[in-house]
């Protein structure tokens, strides 16, 4: 039985484990569901399944390319969710989607489809706090945890409001920019972890610009977990097989665990 995102992360968090959330664009490769299994096998604590969108505004070239491929392959939100419903996978699943796909489907209908598919979290990066009300109500009703984002540019008071509205974890945006691998970790990635920790009981996970085991390790000294997307998607675009994806995920896992031990010591 797949555990709920909220419950699973809360228990990991209280046990002191650093959280690894792995992202994958649905439909980007014919074997994308095998890739989900590989991410789980490699030690991801939760998986974010990206619904491909024609205009992925906050994504860099790698995820853009994955979206183009997935859409060209005929991937639709409904198709993705019905495949996910059939998956035998234990880690909690969240859907990451641009808002138009939710809006077009209808809030209630999309939340219902997610719930039916066993998805328990949603991340909608272009849905600002001000506009989030109707979706959040539907999501709450269907037991979908809506994860909200806080950016380095977010003022204190607003960050508090966003943390209050967030469920399961708080998505701390690591840098001012689009998704994608960076050679070095931005100072903002560690700073935002420190800043948000005191504002919320939820685990704070840092994403965007976190791509290597050592970056994951560095960030996790200042936050409760990391979200890694482009590094995984990029490898799959470059032809990585599921076992290679699992191995890469395991290397991220080790980066985090090393830190958890040293931090806990």
């Amino acid at each position: 039985m797949r555990e709920h995102l909220d419950a699973r992360l809360a228990s990991l968090h209280s046990a002191g484990r650093k959280i690894l959330v792995a992202y994958l664009t649905a439909g980007m490769a014919p074997n994308w569901t095998e890739m989900l299994q590989a991410l789980a096998a490699g030690g991801a604590d939760a998986i974010e399944i990206g619904l491909p969108f024609s205009d992925p505004m906050i994504d860099g070239p790698v995820i853009q390319r994955a979206c183009v491929r997935a859409i060209a392959a005929g991937t639709t939100p409904q198709g993705v969710l019905s495949e996910v419903a059939r998956l035998d996978i234990e880690v909690p699943l969240a859907v990451m989607t641009y808002y138009n796909l939710v809006f077009r489907a209808g809030h209630e209908r999309m939340a219902g489809m997610m719930a039916d598919a066993g998805v328990t979290g949603a991340i909608v990066p272009d849905l600002s706090l001000e506009e989030s009300g109707p979706w959040c109500e539907s999501a709450d009703r269907h037991g979908i945890a809506t994860v909200m984002l806080v950016a380095p540019s977010t003022p204190e008071e607003r960050a508090r409001l966003i943390c209050d509205r967030s469920r399961a974890f708080v998505y701390a945006v690591g840098l001012m920019g689009v998704t994608g691998e960076r050679a070095a970790l931005a100072p903002s990635a560690t700073a935002i972890g420190e800043r948000l920790g005191p504002l919320t009981e939820l685990p704070v996970c840092v994403g965007i610009g976190v791509s290597s085991p050592s970056q994951a390790s560095q960030v996790s000294a200042h936050a409760d977990g990391v979200i890694v997307g482009s590094a995984i998607v990029g490898r799959i675009l470059d032809g990585a097989e599921p076992d290679e994806v699992a191995a890469f995920t395991a290397s991220l896992r080790r980066g985090l665990d090393a830190n958890a031990r040293s931090a806990g010591a």
Partner: protein, 404 residues
């Protein structure tokens, strides 16, 4: 047409649907615009530049021969006579002054046909700012001369190779640049679209053309307002500026989209580029491409205030086909000696189609001639001569417009 609500809504449209990283930048821009727009000194500098540099006020021309031909009284607001050849400069001068006031030193813009890119490059040169224009790879090939114009003006033109490689993707790319360079960069958005405050701010910067036109029409019409006010709609900035000047009159307002990009006619409500409006999209919500002979109207959405004006019935929106547009283009050239841009030729085409029917004989019509056609003559030559190099051949018969 007043300001939107506090969250940037025009009725159920508009808003601010942006990643959290961009929210603060939008809030700062909203505050900066709000205070500048209350500041008489800002209006003074803006008015001065538009006058001494931009060529404002532009005239309203009464089209005697065309009027006789159509049986309705046609007046043109001549934005083709503004510097850089279109209404786009009004917005760009406003935004670049605002950017300077906010301490920004770099302008970025998206462009489709290149007109807004040229205007932004022009303003950047005037203000001593650096400038990067994002343009779809496909559009760069179609509008090579405008690419060179922007480069001559000192701008860097960056090809957008993502998505459909056209205008909508250029908007995404400009937003991506902006989020990474907020400290020194202002995103000079080219139409009444995008997240709050853009639709409101751009409409206010374009209002000058509608305000001028209203007074000019009253002079020509013995104190009366025109029966009809017609403008083409891509994102909808020249139409919004025009309508702002006439919304409180009894004039009937008509926006004309390209048949291949008619978001209002064929679109559904949706959210992209930071706003809720009508969008061309598939069933799941993937945004489609617009396609017409006029690159400047090839935008799959429409500004949110237009969606609202349609909703409340204050304006109506219709479309014109490529063939009608070519006909109207040549008709204006041959009856009035004015070569319009293909974009406002859509507005003219609507007037030609409806003169004597929807527009009763003898009624007056103001058409916003949003730009001049120099940029389009090569394409039109190819279309008329059957050279399919830049598109399909379209049957056109300027003489086929019925005499009345």
């Amino acid at each position: 047409m007043g300001p939107p609500d506090a969250l940037g809504h025009f009725g159920s449209f508009g808003g601010r649907f942006v990643p959290e990283s961009l929210v603060r930048a939008c809030v700062e821009l909203e505050q900066a615009f709000g205070s500048a727009w209350q500041d008489p000194r800002f209006h003074e500098s803006l008015g001065e530049i538009l006058r001494s540099y931009g060529g404002r006020p532009t005239p309203v021309t009464e089209c005697h021969r065309l009027s006789e031909r159509l049986g309705v009284r046609v007046l043109l607001k001549r934005e083709d006579l503004a510097h850089t050849g279109s209404h786009k400069l009004n917005n760009v001068i406003g935004q670049s002054l605002l950017a300077a006031r906010m301490g920004k030193t770099r302008l970025i813009a998206e462009t489709g046909a290149g007109q807004h890119g040229v205007a932004t490059a022009t303003a950047a040169a005037l203000m001593g700012m650096s400038c990067v224009v994002y343009m779809g790879e496909v559009d760069m090939a179609r509008q090579a001369l405008n690419v060179f114009r922007m480069e001559l003006l000192g701008a860097e033109v960056t090809a957008v190779c993502s998505g459909s490689r056209t205008l909508k993707d250029a908007v995404n790319e400009a937003l991506r640049d902006w989020v990474a360079n907020l400290d020194d960069t202002h995103y000079c958005l080219g139409s009444v679209m995008g997240p709050h405050p853009y639709p409101w701010m751009v409409r206010e910067f374009q209002r000058v053309l509608g305000d001028e036109a209203r007074e000019q029409c009253r002079e020509l019409l013995g104190g009366a307002d025109p029966d009809w006010v017609v403008a083409c709609v891509g994102g909808g900035s020249n139409a919004a500026g025009t309508f702002a000047g006439f919304a409180s009159t009894s004039a009937r307002l008509v926006g004309v989209e390209a048949a291949g990009g008619a978001a209002m006619t064929h679109g559904l409500p949706g959210v992209v580029h930071g706003m809720r409006s009508y969008l061309l999209q598939d069933e799941a919500g993937q945004i489609s491409e617009a396609e017409s002979i006029s690159a400047g109207l090839d935008y799959p959405g429409i500004g949110p205030e237009h969606a609202h004006l349609a909703d409340i019935g204050r304006a109506v929106y219709d479309q014109a086909t490529d063939a009608e547009v070519l006909s109207a283009f040549t008709l204006l050239a041959q009856t009035e000696g004015i070569i319009p841009a293909l974009e406002p030729a859509h507005a003219l085409a609507w007037v030609v189609r409806n003169a004597g029917t929807t527009i009763a004989s003898g009624q007056s019509v103001l058409v916003t001639l949003s730009g001049r056609g120099d940029k389009d003559v090569a394409q039109v030559r190819d279309l008329l001569s059957g050279d399919v190099g830049s598109g399909q051949q379209v049957a056109v018969d300027p003489a086929g417009v019925p005499e009345r």
